[in-house]
């Protein structure tokens, strides 16, 4: 404002001591000005580094988990046949009960039908086929082959006699089914014979056979053969009647 300025007054004012801020005060203020400017950048850098660290950790953790998975999958692959059998058995077990129009099964009193089972039992089995212990199979075979033996249980002997009588009378399929059911109960594999990998009880033999027969009738021979093999592993000593044999074996 030039109109208000007076040179004399200004001169006198300039004549007063030229006061200056002390150096330490300058340093304090300048340092504060630098801190304010530098700290946000540091924070940005910090958060970027923190985000990168979290990302690296997440990726490493994911990779670690993925590495762990193949081991479990490898075991599952190694146990695939067992699991497959287990699933099949479960699937067989879970199948609804089919109509009980099954042909009669031959009595296990026929030694010819039992002995192959025994022979098979004696042979070393491969894979994960469930099978009864040889001792149990032998017990069953002995009980079936010698109903007249005193130490044999009475039930198999009674069942054998009943079967013989009914065969003579050419019992209808329903009665044959009942016979088969009875035999199935009697000659059901021991608990120890249950496959180790099959926590659930296997399907009842008559139902299983019926299912195999149905597969055969539908022309699904490969599946029928497969099921039959499994059936014989689970129930190696289960007697098959001629009718049933023809149906499941496709002869």
């Amino acid at each position: 404002m030039a109109e208000e300025r007076d040179a004399k007054v200004s001169q006198h004012y300039r004549g007063l001591q030229a006061l200056e801020p002390p150096p330490e005060l300058d340093q304090t203020i300048v340092a504060a000005s630098r801190r304010v400017v530098s700290s946000p950048g540091r924070h940005r850098w910090y958060y970027s580094l923190a985000a990168a660290a979290v990302l690296v950790f997440a990726v490493a953790l994911t990779l670690h988990i993925e590495r762990e998975r193949p081991d479990a999958e490898g075991l599952s692959q190694a146990a695939a046949p067992q699991l497959r059998l287990e699933r099949e058995l479960r699937g067989v077990i879970k199948q609804p009960a089919e109509s009980e129009s099954k042909p009669a099964a031959q009595q296990q009193s026929k030694p010819d039908e039992v002995r192959p089972g025994i022979a098979r039992d004696a042979e070393p089995r491969s894979g994960f086929a469930p099978e009864p212990p040889a001792s149990a199979a032998d017990a069953l075979a002995a009980a079936a082959a010698a109903p007249q033996q005193e130490p044999a249980p009475a039930a198999p002997a009674v069942a054998a006699r009943r079967l013989a009588e009914r065969r003579k009378s050419e019992a209808p399929p329903q009665m044959q089914l009942r016979r088969e059911e009875t035999l199935a109960r009697q000659y059901a594999p021991a608990p120890a014979a249950v496959p180790i990998l099959a926590p659930a009880a296997p399907e009842r033999p008559e139902r299983w056979l019926e299912r195999i027969a149905e597969l055969r009738s539908r022309g699904k021979h490969a599946e029928a053969d497969k099921e039959l093999v499994e059936f014989r592993r689970v129930y190696p000593s289960y007697p098959l009647s001629e009718v049933m044999r023809e149906r499941v074996e496709g002869r």
């Binding site: 004012y13 006061l19 300058d26 203020i29 400017v37």
Partner: protein, 177 residues
Amino acid sequence: MQAADEELMLAYRAGDAAAFETLYRRYRSPLYRFVLRSVKNRALGEELFQEIWMRVIEARARYAPQAKFTTWLYTIAHNYLVDHWRKRGLSLVALEGDEHEGGAPDPADHAQARESLARFAAALEALPPLQREAFLLHEEGGLSVTEIAAATGTHGEAAKSRLRYAMAKLKAAIDDG
């Protein structure tokens, strides 16, 4: 060519610390004298001086060149002084022991100058705070009447009147010798 004050402040707002240091070097002495000659003692003056610059630093993010940088700077200083005036009386910094460095070659003139200067300092101290402030903003800060009005939150006529009265008293003190 020196960068404008407003450009430097905008640069500081953008993160350029050196821009602030340039501004500080430009206005540290005038503002220091303005504050010290407006308060009672040197320690308090230095405290206010630091607070004013801290406020400038704090407000950098909100700075917008709507007025001159000096007007904005002295507005902050005025607000701090008003708070100070409300708490205690306004008084000039005691200049005991401060020697006049102007120096006239003639010893007689030197004595006369010293007396004149003493009267001037006394007259400056005796000014009402608002008049003294107007004078210091004008003389030390280089603000115009309009800018003084903006810095002190008053209208132009009031600022002009204060400055006129201040100048008249100081001139009279000089002429009395």
